[in-house]
């Protein structure tokens, strides 16, 4: 159990700066997800915390102790790698016991902790197998077991689910979350998949080009994205965004007036107008749009709509009679609209 703090962290490879002064705190027992497109610096940040990458500037603290100059092994953290990184020549048991063996723990303690971790992860029957004899999901669990056995202050996960197929990924997601609820160990989890981030995190750190775009709980990020990048990154299908100009209580765009909350922006301001697919509602009157594609998924129906040259996605619960080529009308709630300044991308209102 531990807190983690990043203070003005920077990372440069030669002259190329990849992380530009990042700072935030992680509370004891918190599950924090670093999310962002590839190349945003999230893995680098995690690896700096792990001690696998040199820190070019700033400080990382674990339990209020600066760890910049500590070796990985002395930081008391455990990491689960994307490729699992299991030792191929050792059995599951030996893999899990390896760190204890290096610490010269006595045989009883080792056996007890390995058995305990194996029970938590349902690996009891596999302890004497080699990694090559395991499926992807089982290997993933062994990698987690290896971390649990250590009983570390902080768990690090580096895109642990990206090598698994879609179904298994959902199952493992739940398993990792359950594991965290059980062990309550401070966890830092890196992913590029915003659904993973949304479903697992206590708090999400959205990164882009080596800076933090926004930090918040999953629903905060979803409901009030701080800027255009976060608005488009979080949520699936992603938010509809198009350009417009503020005029009174609306944004004029695509030849229509789109409602916004009173006092958003000033008259004549150039903005991006954003509305989530689930916040567009089919109505008898309102903004007309042409249906291009209808995608029923059973519980929901996804409509691809066209207004002028702009395509919009609408998700409606249940079924709809709309057919491709039909004209439908959209109504929307002013408080559900997201408006961003066109120059800076910052949220208005």
């Amino acid at each position: 159990m531990a807190t983690v703090s990043f203070k003005n962290i920077q990372k440069a490879y030669g002259a190329v700066k990849v992380i530009h002064g990042i700072g935030f705190d992680i509370a004891d027992g918190e599950f924090v997800v670093l999310v962002g497109p590839s190349g945003c610096g999230k893995s680098t940040l995690l690896r700096m915390l792990a001690g696998l990458e040199e820190i070019s500037g700033g400080e990382i603290l674990i339990d209020d102790k600066v760890v910049n100059d500590l070796e990985s092994k002395d930081r008391d953290i455990a990491m689960v790698f994307q490729s699992y990184a299991l030792y191929p020549h050792m059995t599951v048991r030996e893999n899990m016991a390896f760190s204890l063996r290096l610490r010269k723990a006595d045989a009883n303690t080792t056996a007890q902790r390995v058995d305990n971790a194996a029970r938590i992860l349902n690996l009891d029957a596999l302890l004497d197998r080699y990694p090559r004899e395991l499926s992807g999901g089982q290997r993933q669990r062994v990698a987690m077991g290896r971390a649990i056995v250590r009983d570390p202050k902080v768990f690090l996960f580096d895109e642990p689910l990206s090598n698994l197929d879609a179904k298994l990924r959902v199952a493992m997601r739940a398993e990792i979350k359950a594991l965290h609820q059980r062990l309550k160990t401070t966890t830092v989890y890196v992913t590029h998949d915003q659904i993973e981030a949304m479903t697992m995190a206590d708090r999400i750190v959205v990164m882009h080009d080596g800076i933090i775009e926004q930090i918040g709980t999953p629903l905060e990020l979803f409901d009030r994205p701080g800027n255009l990048f976060v608005a488009q990154f979080i949520g699936s299908p992603s938010m509809n965004v198009f350009e417009g100009v503020v005029k009174g209580d609306a944004v004029e765009a695509l030849g229509h007036r789109w409602p916004v909350a009173a006092g958003t922006g000033r008259d004549g301001q150039a903005v991006h107008y954003g509305i989530r697919p689930t916040d567009l509602v089919l109505a008898n009157s309102g903004i007309p749009a042409q249906v291009v594609v209808v995608e029923p998924t059973g519980a929901e129906t996804e409509l691809l709509l066209q207004i002028g040259a702009q395509q919009l996605v609408l998700v409606t619960h249940g079924r709809t009679a709309a057919q491709p080529g039909d004209t439908v009308h959209l109504s929307l709630d002013a408080v559900k609209a997201h408006v961003f300044d066109r120059a800076s991308g910052a949220r208005l209102g």
């Binding site: 792990a50 092994k73 990491m79």
Partner: protein, 280 residues
């Protein structure tokens, strides 16, 4: 289509048969001489009239002037070959680990120098090597041959092992480091076990290189009891009337260990020496 396949097959046979004969005829000759009585060895028959194993008896009982130290020399060959295999393995493994996994400074230079040594034939270095050994007072000592062979075998072995090491996933090192392994523990508990196939291949290569060496053995060793069997075999030809049947019988004995080693480790040899040959 069928015709094409036949032509293809014929072309392969056209190449394959001469290569097979080229390889087998010397071996056949060696065996033929080894089992012929002295007076019929050069009779020109394809198979001796009365094949005999007497030659081997003479060899094993050291009952000839040239064979007085046969067992001793066989032992020398074995000792030197095994020593060269082990020392080269140690040197090359440590170098490959340091360069490939620990990324020590100057690693690239070492690799380039190792590659550069290929351009110089070993024979060119024979005289300088002789002088060096003389300077260190190692002439006539088995160590001189061992050290010379280690010098010649190491660059290639370092190169092969470095290429093979580069293929091990980097995350394994990182995982081990996070698990608390020191570089030495990483080497012993993770690196070496995973490198076994390549290590066997490289060890066998250097062992056979030393076993087969003639020139350096001839130069660096001179006392009868220090010679390797390869050099001793060469000495058979020093007389006007060489005992060919004994020479060949000894040759058969000399050829058996490499054949056995190659057979035992061929699985590793092929996969190990080609591992890292191409970037996959």
């Amino acid at each position: 289509m069928k015709k094409k396949a036949i032509i293809n097959e014929a072309q392969l046979l056209l190449i394959g048969i001469p290569v097979l004969l080229w390889t087998l005829i010397p071996v056949y000759h060696m065996v033929l001489f080894a089992i012929s009585p002295r007076d019929t060895a050069t009779s020109g028959r394809l198979w001796p009239k009365s094949p005999t194993l007497d030659n081997f008896q003479v060899v094993f009982q050291q009952k000839h002037l040239y064979l007085q130290h046969f067992w001793q020399q066989l032992g020398n060959s074995l000792l030197i070959a095994v020593a060269v295999g082990l020392i080269t393995l140690f040197v090359a493994t440590c170098a490959a680990f340091a360069i490939s996994r620990l990324k020590v400074r100057g690693g690239r230079t070492v690799m380039n120098l190792a590659l550069f040594t290929y351009f110089i034939p070993a024979a060119f270095l024979a005289v300088p090597m002789y002088k060096t050994m003389a300077n260190y007072g190692l002439l006539n000592s088995k160590w001189s041959l061992v050290l010379a062979m280690v010098t010649i075998a190491s660059p290639y072995c370092i190169w092969v092992l470095k290429q093979a090491s580069d293929k091990l996933p980097w995350e394994l090192d990182e995982a081990a480091r996070m698990d608390g392994a020191t570089p030495l523990q990483l080497f012993r508990l993770v690196y070496v076990p995973l490198m076994v196939p390549s290590l066997v291949a490289v060890g066998t290569y250097s062992l056979l290189l030393a076993w087969n060496e003639y020139l350096y053995g001839f130069l660096l060793l001179s006392k009868e009891t220090d010679l390797t069997l390869a050099v001793a075999l060469g000495n058979f030809l020093g007389a006007d009337d060489s005992p060919w049947e004994l020479l060949m019988a000894t040759g058969v004995v000399y050829a058996l260990p490499p054949a056995a080693i190659y057979y035992a480790f061929k699985r590793y040899m092929v996969s190990g020496l080609t591992a890292g040959a191409v970037k996959s």
